[in-house]
Every structure is written in structure tokens, then in C-alpha cells.
């Protein structure tokens, strides 16, 4: 188990001595008067190079605190544009940034916060082809991404390059933080050798995130990155910090380096980056849409049939809290309850099932057909498509 702190010796920046300007001394005075940082630590920060992968919920507090702390060079990797659903938690961005590339808006904000540091905007999707090239220039990598292929890619690249990976992950109101890939410490694959198959990750009905959660988790990642640079304190190596914002409770679990780990074990089998989409069971760049084999009806067709007075039972399979956001006046039976409430449905009537986008309702249609329902259709594209094609007054979420 690694107990050593700090950046691995091979990663230490080997630059000529730098000094702080008078303005910098004033700016960082609350660091300088504290012995754990002091002039020596502040100069380490100034010479440090940190790469933030993702400038979203986790990347926002991370980038802000690293820039404010005076980390001399901060790389930002993202390929996305700001959209209005980001603003609930991605505090790097303002309302007027909607539509702009995240990298552009983030760089501008961090420059504004601290003009003395270098920001490297890297507008790219991290891939097996570019990852080693992008990561190699930095001392500490901070992973704030949102999908399994990139998680494994970042892990393997960090292990191959011998760089610490400050890992943070969030779901609803629960977060996980640790440091992977520090020499002697465990890596992501020691903890989870394989990703979940796409079908088993929780659906959007359980998704969402409390806006402040990535703020807390990202700020913890920032603290760990700064501690690694300073070589102070006890880094989160070999410890998985679990945070539950609802219970407001932190717990800590032990992480061990797995000697049989394919990435960092005694006999590693991963000597280069692989196809992570394939590894995670995903073909192509994006998660595939499920093969729709269930009979469908388009929003326009449904509207026309309802207008002419056809007897159609609208079955809404979303969750009650989603029904409160918007609804089509349908009868609510959440997908998870459908099997035990199926007796409430009349198989002689025509049924159109819908959800937000059409995925859960496709499952519902499949289930109902296997249960003997013959006249059941899926509303293609769900409430989102209804809003686009029939009634724009229905809000999208």
C-alpha cells in the first residue's frame, strides 16, 4: 500500500527556480502565511501542470480552485458545448455561455480569475489515439468525465504513463473520490476489473444529480490534486471516499492494489490503449439506441387519432416526479410497477405507452405484448417528440 505522498519523483517538474512577483505574493498571501504551503509550496504550485478531463460538474469547481490556487498550467479537455441544463451545477458557466464551446467559456473564466497562469484549451474527445500524447505533459490528471469508456481510458493511460489520477464520480446525491494510478497504489481496474454492460446501468428514471454534489466532489478532487503537488498530508491513495449528500455522511473504504490487475498488477496484460467503446460493450462513439422492435406510433399519428375520437388508453410509464414536470394526461404506472399492476389494464382496449424519450415505454410495450396484450403501441420519441412535433407548450426536461 502506498503511503508516499506527492507526485511520483519521475513526474516532478524539473524547471529552473521560479519566483513570485510582488502581485503574486499578495494574491497568494493566505497560502504563503501557512506553513503547509508557504513560499516553497506556492512555487511548487506555480510549476505544476494539471490536466482536467471534462469541464462539467466536477471540472467546474476543480478548475476554479486550481486556477485560484495558482497552479501554473492547467489543461482542459472537453468537446461539448454549454447547454442550459448544465447551468444547474456547472458553475464555470453563465447563462450567456449557452451554445459556446465549454473549452472556450471555461478558459475565459479561468483566465479572468487568474491571468498569471497558463490555460491549455484542448477541444477534443479523449481517445485511445490521442490520450497518451495529451496526458504526457502533465503531472497530475483529474478525471471528471461521465462515462465508462473514458474512465477506463484515463485509468489505463495514467497507469501506462505512471501518473496519478484523481478520480471523482457522482450519481444523484452520492459521490466517490479516490486517487488511482499512484505508483504502489491501486488503479480503477483493481477496484472494478470490468464495466457494467450497457443494459444494466440505471436508466434515466434513476438519473439526475443534486447540483451541489459535483461541487463538493470536485472540490475534494481539487484538494487532493493540490496535496499531491505540495506533497503534504495524507492523500486519498488506497482509500475510497464515499459521500452521501442526502444523509450528509462521509464513509471510507479500503482499496487494495490487486496483484492480478490486468493494468497495474504483477503481470499486466494491458501494454497499450485498447478500444474502450468495445470494452464497455458500446459500438460506435455514442451509446447505441436500443433496437426498436416494438410497434410504434408517431406523435402526429397519435394526435390525429385522439382528435378523431378514437378510444386509446394512454399509459405513462415514467416516475411520479416526472409526471409532475409535464404529462399528456395519461394514466401513470411506472415501468417498475407494471408487472404487479398489469391487471389494471384492459387488454381489449388499444394502449399507447410513453415515457420521456421512448426507451422505457418500449420496454413496457415489450413486456405487455409478452403478457398477451395485442393492441399496444409505443409512442415514438416519447414526450420529447410530442413537444417537438405536436405541442411545443409541453416542457422538455
Amino acid at each position: 500500500m502506498a503511503t508516499k505522498t506527492g507526485i511520483p519523483p519521475t513526474q516532478q517538474t524539473d524547471q529552473p527556480a521560479v519566483a513570485l512577483s510582488k502581485e503574486e505574493i499578495l494574491r497568494y498571501s493566505r497560502h504563503l502565511i501557512m506553513p503547509e504551503v508557504g513560499m516553497e509550496g506556492q512555487l511548487k504550485l506555480k510549476q505544476a501542470k494539471v490536466l482536467c478531463i471534462g469541464t462539467g460538474g466536477l471540472g467546474a469547481p476543480l478548475g476554479l480552485y486550481l486556477a485560484a490556487a495558482g497552479v501554473g498550467r492547467i489543461g482542459l479537455v472537453d468537446f461539448d458545448a454549454v447547454d442550459s441544463t448544465n447551468l444547474q451545477r456547472q458553475i464555470l458557466f453563465s447563462s450567456q455561455d449557452v451554445g459556446r464551446p465549454k473549452i472556450e467559456a471555461a478558459s475565459e473564466r479561468l483566465h479572468g480569475l487568474n491571468p498569471d497562469i497558463q490555460i491549455d484549451p484542448i477541444e477534443a474527445r479523449l481517445t485511445s489515439e490521442n490520450a497518451l500524447e495529451i496526458l504526457k505533459d502533465y503531472d497530475v490528471i483529474v478525471d471528471g468525465t461521465d462515462n465508462f469508456p473514458t474512465r477506463y481510458l484515463v485509468n489505463d493511460a495514467c497507469v501506462l504513463l505512471g501518473k496519478p489520477n484523481v478520480y471523482g464520480s457522482i450519481f444523484r446525491f452520492e459521490g466517490q473520490v479516490t486517487i488511482f494510478g499512484h505508483p504502489g497504489g491501486p488503479c480503477y481496474r483493481c477496484l472494478y476489473p470490468e464495466p457494467p454492460p450497457p443494459g444494466l446501468v440505471p436508466s434515466c428514471a434513476e438519473g439526475g444529480v443534486l447540483g451541489v454534489l459535483p461541487g463538493i466532489v470536485g472540490a475534494i478532487q481539487a484538494a487532493e490534486a493540490l496535496k499531491l503537488i505540495l506533497g503534504k498530508g495524507e492523500p486519498l491513495i488506497g482509500r475510497l471516499l464515499l459521500f452521501d449528500a442526502l444523509a450528509m455522511r462521509f464513509r471510507e473504504l479500503k482499496l487494495r492494489k490487486n496483484r492480478e490487475c490486468p493494468a497495474c498488477g504483477d503481470h499486466p496484460t494491458i501494454s497499450q490503449l485498447i478500444d474502450y467503446a468495445e470494452f464497455c460493450g458500446i459500438r460506435g462513439e455514442e451509446a447505441p439506441l436500443p433496437q426498436t422492435t416494438v410497434p410504434e406510433i408517431t406523435p402526429k399519428e397519435l394526435k390525429a387519432r385522439l382528435d378523431r375520437g378514437d378510444d386509446i388508453f394512454i399509459l405513462d410509464v415514467r416516475e411520479p416526479h416526472e409526471y409532475q414536470i409535464c404529462n399528456l394526461g395519461g394514466n401513470l404506472i411506472p415501468l417498475g410497477d407494471l408487472s404487479k399492476r398489469v391487471n389494471e389494464l384492459d387488454s381489449s382496449r388499444e394502449i399507447v405507452a410513453h415515457c420521456r424519450s421512448g426507451k422505457r415505454s418500449a420496454e413496457a410495450v415489450e413486456f405487455l405484448r409478452s403478457a398477451g396484450f395485442r393492441k399496444v403501441l409505443n409512442l415514438k420519441g416519447g414526450i420529447l417528440a410530442w413537444s417537438d412535433e405536436v405541442d411545443p407548450s409541453v416542457p422538455k426536461y
Binding site: 471534462g54 469541464t55 462539467g56 460538474g57 466536477l58 471540472g59 472537453d78 461539448d80 441544463t85 448544465n86 478525471d143 471528471g144 468525465t145 461521465d146 465508462f148 474512465r151 471523482g168 464520480s169 457522482i170 450519481f171 444523484r172 446525491f173 452520492e174 466517490q176 477496484l191 472494478y192 476489473p193 470490468e194 464495466p195 457494467p196 444494466l200 446501468v201 440505471p202 436508466s203 434515466c204 428514471a205 434513476e206 438519473g207 439526475g208 444529480v209 459535483p214 466532489v217 475510497l240 464515499l242 452521501d244 444523509a247 464513509r251 471510507e252 473504504l253 479500503k254 487494495r256 490487486n258 451509446a287 417498475g336 415515457c355 420521456r356 424519450s357 421512448g358 426507451k359 416519447g382
Partner: protein, 99 residues
């Protein structure tokens, strides 16, 4: 022996929306068997077809990974806490965009 099994947020939907469940069990295997007997839907999220724990789910007794104890034969006693810790990937964007 009363043992508390902590259900992680992503799996609560398959466990009656409960945060934790108390079971009478002497080993981790017994505790998980009782849990999945009560919540049938949870089974496929915890175990592969061959009955082994899925590789994206780790189980801890207190703060120790059972892979480094006696795996599912790890004994549990009064007051022990079994935690199910699945991998979660969220961070950057809206995790619910996929629906």
C-alpha cells in the same frame, strides 16, 4: 445475527427504494441471498448468470473488500455493515440524457 446491508443509490430502485436492509445472516453469501430473495429484481444487478458477483459490483464488510477477506464466505456478526459499491461513471454532463 442482525447485519445491515447498505444499498447504493443506483440500486435502490430495485430494493424497494430502501437505503439499507437488515438481515439475519452469518456470512456475506447468506446476507446477499436473503436480500435478493426479498428483492428479486436486484439479483441480476448483483450476480452474473453463473451466480458470481458481477465485476462492476464490490462488496465490503465494514471498510474491507471481501475479495481480500474470504470472499462471499466472509463471516459477519452483529452490528457489521455490508456495503454494496457499484461503479458509477457520472460527472460531466446530465446523467439522464440517455433515457
Amino acid at each position: 445475527m442482525a447485519v445491515k446491508v447498505v444499498i447504493p443509490t443506483p440500486l435502490r430502485a430495485y430494493a424497494g427504494k430502501l437505503e439499507s436492509v437488515e438481515v439475519q445472516a452469518a456470512t456475506v453469501a447468506e446476507a446477499l441471498a436473503l436480500l435478493t430473495a426479498r428483492f428479486g429484481e436486484l439479483r441480476k444487478h448483483l450476480f452474473a448468470d453463473d451466480g458470481r458477483l458481477r465485476s462492476f459490483v464490490n462488496v465490503y464488510v465494514n471498510d474491507e473488500d471481501i475479495r481480500y477477506l474470504q470472499k462471499d464466505q466472509t463471516r459477519v456478526g452483529e452490528g457489521d455493515i455490508i456495503s454494496i459499491v457499484p461503479s458509477i461513471a457520472g460527472g460531466l454532463r446530465g446523467e439522464n440524457n440517455g433515457d
